[in-house]
Amino acid sequence: MPAAAAAAVLLGAAAAIPNAATATTAQTVEISGFAFKPAVLDVAAGDAITFVNHDQEAHTVVAQSGAFKSSGLDTNDQWTVRISKPGKYPYFCSLHPYMKGTIVVRAARGMH
C-alpha cells in the first residue's frame, strides 16, 4: 500500500472543541528509531496531533487510559488525533510496549 493511510479521530464532547474562530495548531510526533519524538508533547485542547512512522517496522499509538488507539502504522503512515479534554495522556506502542510517550493537553487558547 504505497499511499500513506491517514486517519483522524475526534475525542470528547463536541462542545469542548474550539470553533473555527479559535486558532488550533498542528502538532507532530515523529516515530523513528523505536521512539516517539518528542516523548512529551504539549498541545492545546483540540489541536491536531499527527503521528508519522518513519521506521521500517510498524508501530501503534495506544493511550494507557484507552482514550485513543491507532491502528497499525506502516512505514510512512500517519494518524491524527484531537483531544478536547485537558489532562495528561501517557501512551505507548502496543507492538513495542517499552516505547512510551505523553501528550499534555492544556485548555484551548482563548477559552480562559
Binding site: 528509531g33 523505536f34 521506521d55 517496522e57 488507539k69 506502516d74 502496543s94 510496549p97 517499552y98
Partner: protein, 295 residues
C-alpha cells in the same frame, strides 16, 4: 514379513517413519532405527510478516512461498508444520488472506499460533478465523502425537506487556502437564521467547519463569519460539530453548544495535538469514533441530 509388505505397512500406519531405500533397495539403518523407537518429525516456520514491503524484504510473500515449496519438496513429509506467529505484519484482512493462500498449499497439516502483529487492535477474531485452532477454541491448546506431548501457548494476548501468559493459561498448563509422565518428551511452542532472552527489546515472557518451573521436572523438554527473527539456543536443566529464523527478514543479534527491527541485507545475504526449521524427536534423545536457510 517381506520387505515389500513392511514398507507398505509403515506407509499405511503413517508413523512418521523415514522408510528411505538405499540405492541397493535395502532399508537404511536410520530408517529402521526410527521405525523401532518411534519418532516424530515436524517443521517450524515463523514471522512471515505478510504485508511488509520495505527494503529489508520487498517481497515477503515470495519468501514464504519459498518456504512452502521447500517443505512440500521434502521426500518425507513432516507430521505437521507449525507457524509460530507474526503471520501478518498489520493484522489486515488481505494480509491474512494472502498468508492463508500460501500456507494452505502445504501438503502437511498446518498449525498456526499468533504473534503480536496478528493481534493489532486487540482484534483476535481475524487471526482465529483465518487459522482456527485444531479444536476450534480461541486460545492455547495441547495434543499428543507419536508419544510426544505438544503444547501451543499464546503469550501475546496482553498488549501492554509483551510476552505474558496470564494466570488462566498458567493454571491450564499446570493441569495439562500434571497428566504427563516425566519421561514423555514435551515440546512447547510460543511466539515470544519463554525465557528472558533480551528483555529490553521485549524478547521475553514476563511470567515465563512460572511456566519454566512447571516444565523443569520433565526429562526432555524443547521450547521453540519465534519473534526475534534469528536462531538463539539456550539450555536450562532439561529444557532446551531455540528461537527460529523468520521467513521475512532478520533482526539484529541481541544488543548489537540500538534497537530491534528489520535488518536490511543484500538479497543474497537475506536468503542466508531466513528459512525454516526441521525438527526430529526420538524418544530418549534431545530434539534434533536443523535450521535450513534459503541460500
Amino acid at each position: 514379513m517381506q520387505r515389500k509388505d513392511f514398507l507398505e505397512h509403515v506407509a499405511w500406519t503413517g508413523a512418521g517413519i523415514a522408510y528411505a531405500l538405499s540405492a541397493g533397495g535395502l532399508m537404511t539403518g536410520t530408517a529402521l532405527a526410527r521405525g523401532v523407537t518411534g519418532s516424530i518429525d515436524f517443521v517450524q516456520i515463523s514471522d512471515s510478516h505478510i504485508g511488509f514491503h520495505q527494503e529489508a524484504n520487498p517481497d515477503v510473500s515470495a519468501t514464504l512461498q519459498s518456504a512452502v515449496n521447500a517443505i512440500n519438496a521434502l521426500p518425507d513429509q513432516p507430521k505437521f508444520v507449525i507457524h509460530t506467529g507474526d503471520v501478518t505484519h498489520l493484522s489486515k484482512p488481505e494480509q491474512f488472506g494472502t498468508a492463508k493462500d500460501i500456507l494452505s498449499q502445504l501438503r502437511a497439516p498446518l498449525i498456526v499460533i499468533p504473534g503480536e502483529h496478528d493481534f493489532i487492535g486487540q482484534d483476535y477474531n481475524s487471526f482465529f478465523q483465518a487459522f482456527p485452532t485444531p479444536k476450534g477454541g480461541k486460545q492455547w491448546f495441547s495434543w499428543d502425537q507419536n508419544g510426544t506431548h505438544f503444547v501451543a501457548l499464546i503469550n501475546v494476548f496482553d498488549f501492554e506487556k509483551m510476552g505474558l501468559l496470564g494466570n488462566d493459561q498458567l493454571t491450564w498448563l499446570k493441569r495439562d502437564l500434571a497428566a504427563q509422565s516425566r519421561s514423555t518428551p514435551i515440546v512447547v511452542f510460543t511466539h515470544a521467547p519463554l525465557y528472558a532472552l533480551f528483555p529490553s527489546w521485549g524478547w521475553t515472557t514476563e511470567d515465563g519463569t512460572k511456566a519454566i518451573a512447571m516444565l523443569q521436572p520433565f526429562d526432555n523438554v524443547t521450547v521453540l519460539s519465534g519473534h526475534i527473527h534469528q536462531v538463539v539456543t539456550h539450555q536450562e536443566g532439561n529444557i532446551r530453548f531455540a528461537t527460529a529464523d523468520a521467513t521475512a527478514y532478520p533482526q539484529p543479534a541481541p544488543g548489537t544495535a540500538d534497537k530491534p527491527g528489520p535488518l536490511t541485507l543484500p538479497h543474497d545475504q537475506l536468503l542466508r538469514a531466513i528459512g525454516y526449521r526441521n525438527v526430529v524427536l526420538e524418544k530418549g534423545h534431545a530434539a534434533a533441530i536443523d535450521d535450513r536457510r534459503f541460500a
